[in-house]
């Protein structure tokens, strides 16, 4: 009986907190403006429930008294750690083959032909996937290019892939994936590029596995970044959003030096270069915006 009563009291308290923590329209607008300025992620009114729930979770986890208290924390906390945790809550961090493949389409239909046509181009085309996590992105790039770029056989293409986490890199190099990772790949491509190991596991073909240069390192460490020069396209999706402003600037400056003149950066769909740097020129390929380093030798 006492246990039941305790549970009931706890549930009532949670319900009260939930009521209290539901953001007013003004608080929601204030939060959304702040969050957009910091991350580039914009929530519309219809996402209010989603936002409310996650903020409530963080208010409870941080023992804040309510929204005002919590907002003060994320706005002024010197190390920005709680803001990072909130970003984690507000974003979906998963990887699978052909994720946001409209960016790959822009690559093969717009970017690669443009690079290959440059008078100064003497190959190979260098593409860098960072962070590559468990490898879905660099392998997707390889498959998409081989399948969709009709000039793929005419040029040498080098795909490099890096991550700070040695454990996920080991998985990437092993190249073994489950159905969830492969869900967006057409069955014909699964059959062409993978070998079934058992009912739940598929291994990417040895040629593709051997064709990617995997390396472990941290993008904010200059010695690691110096290894990458003359890169034509950097795929850096959904990483910078988790960095503080200083690290974002450091990384973007380092990417600038890694890229060849006229090279491109591809960010995640909710990320925007304009909040981080004015060095790059936005270029539109269909509905996709990539960011280009100026091509002329500058004085």
């Amino acid at each position: 009986m006492t246990v039941q009563k305790n549970i009931r009291v706890k549930l009532m308290k949670m319900a009260e907190l939930s009521q209290d923590a539901a953001l007013s329209r003004e608080d929601f607008a204030k939060f959304c403006e702040f969050f957009y300025r910091k991350t580039g992620i914009l929530f519309e009114e219809k996402k209010k429930y989603f936002v409310d729930r996650r903020i409530l979770d963080r208010i409870n986890a941080t023992d804040c008294a309510g929204f005002r208290d919590y907002f003060h924390k994320i706005r002024f906390e010197p190390d920005g750690k709680e803001m990072q945790r909130l970003v984690n809550q507000m974003t979906v961090n998963e990887t699978y083959f052909f994720r946001e493949d409209y960016q790959f389409k822009a690559l093969v239909e717009g970017v690669l032909p443009e690079i290959a046509m440059r008078p100064s181009f003497d190959g190979p085309i260098r593409i860098w996937s960072v962070p590559c996590s468990t490898g879905e992105e660099p392998y997707s790039l390889a498959i998409y290019i081989l399948e969709q770029w009709r000039d793929a056989d005419r040029f040498d293409i080098q795909i490099q892939a890096s991550d700070i986490d040695s454990a996920v890199l080991a998985e990437a190099e092993a190249g073994i994936y489950g159905p969830r990772s492969l869900q967006r790949l057409p069955p014909a491509l699964v059959a062409k590029y993978f070998t079934r190991l058992d009912s739940e596991r598929f291994r990417i073909c040895p040629d593709l596995r051997r064709s990617i240069d995997f390396s472990q390192g941290n993008v904010v460490e200059p010695p690691f970044m110096k290894r990458f020069r003359g890169v034509d396209v950097i795929f850096c999706r959904n990483m910078l959003i988790y960095f503080d402003e200083t690290s974002q600037r450091d990384t973007i400056e380092a990417f600038y030096d890694c890229l060849s003149p006229g090279g491109y950066i591809c960010l995640g769909h909710s990320e925007s270069m304009s909040r981080m740097s004015a060095l790059f020129r936005p270029r539109k390929f269909g509905d996709v915006i990539l960011y280009q380093k100026p091509s002329e030798k500058s004085r």
């Binding site: 010197p78 040029f155 293409i157 990617i212 240069d213």
Partner: protein, 205 residues
């Protein structure tokens, strides 16, 4: 298959000959922006580099080199660096002003000792620049500084900038100061509108 692996050591891994600080300072005069960026990166390895980087910031015209200097000044932040960057708020060059504001927003503890003196600078454009820094500064005294602006600054544009910033970080204690400001600029419609909007944001209703 069109895919190849790198089979040579990347050029950047080939050890470069030792470069001295004075070599790098000389390299800052190169006619190639890429060389000057490399010099900035090289100089950033020296702990006492901030002075020479700042001096070059004021003469450098290329935005990519300027941008890197700002980043390295943030990495070498100190009260002295903040003091130097604050001088740029009076610059005629909008790119330098904007770069300084963004850099100073990332050094709250180093910026703090300068705030009160800068908020009484005779140039209202400089004071607006300081308020723009406060608008994104992670420092607990920001609401107090902004409240001081709306209580004391004689220039309506400086106060208007402070109202916008207070709308985000203000506490209910700021409401009387906002009301007093509305009375002080009773004939400026924008101030009435902005104060009303800020009051709603602060109270959350």
């Amino acid at each position: 298959m069109a895919l190849i692996k790198a089979d040579t050591l990347p050029v950047a891994l080939v050890p470069s000959p030792a470069v001295t600080r004075s070599d790098l300072i000389g390299q800052l005069r190169s006619s190639d922006a890429a060389d000057r960026r490399a010099a900035v990166r090289g100089l950033a390895a020296f702990p006492d580099c901030a002075g020479v980087l700042y001096e070059n910031l004021t003469v450098e015209q290329n935005n990519s080199v300027r941008s890197l200097i700002f980043v390295e000044l943030i990495n070498h932040k100190s009260s002295a660096v903040a003091g130097d960057l604050l001088c740029l708020l009076a610059s005629e060059d909008a790119n330098l002003r904007g770069g300084a504001i963004e850099a100073l927003q990332e050094m709250p503890d180093e910026m703090a000792p300068h705030v009160e003196a800068m908020l009484v600078d005779p140039d209202s454009d400089v004071r607006i620049g300081v308020v723009a820094i406060l608008a994104a500064l992670r420092h607990p005294k920001v609401p107090n500084w902004l409240q001081g602006v709306i209580e004391r600054d004689p220039h309506v544009n400086v106060c208007a900038a402070a109202i916008d910033a207070l709308a985000e970080v203000g506490e209910p204690q700021s409401i009387p100061a906002l009301a007093a400001l509305a009375r002080r600029f009773h004939d400026v419609a924008f101030v009435q509108f902005a104060v009303d909007a800020a009051r709603r944001r602060i109270l959350g209703r």
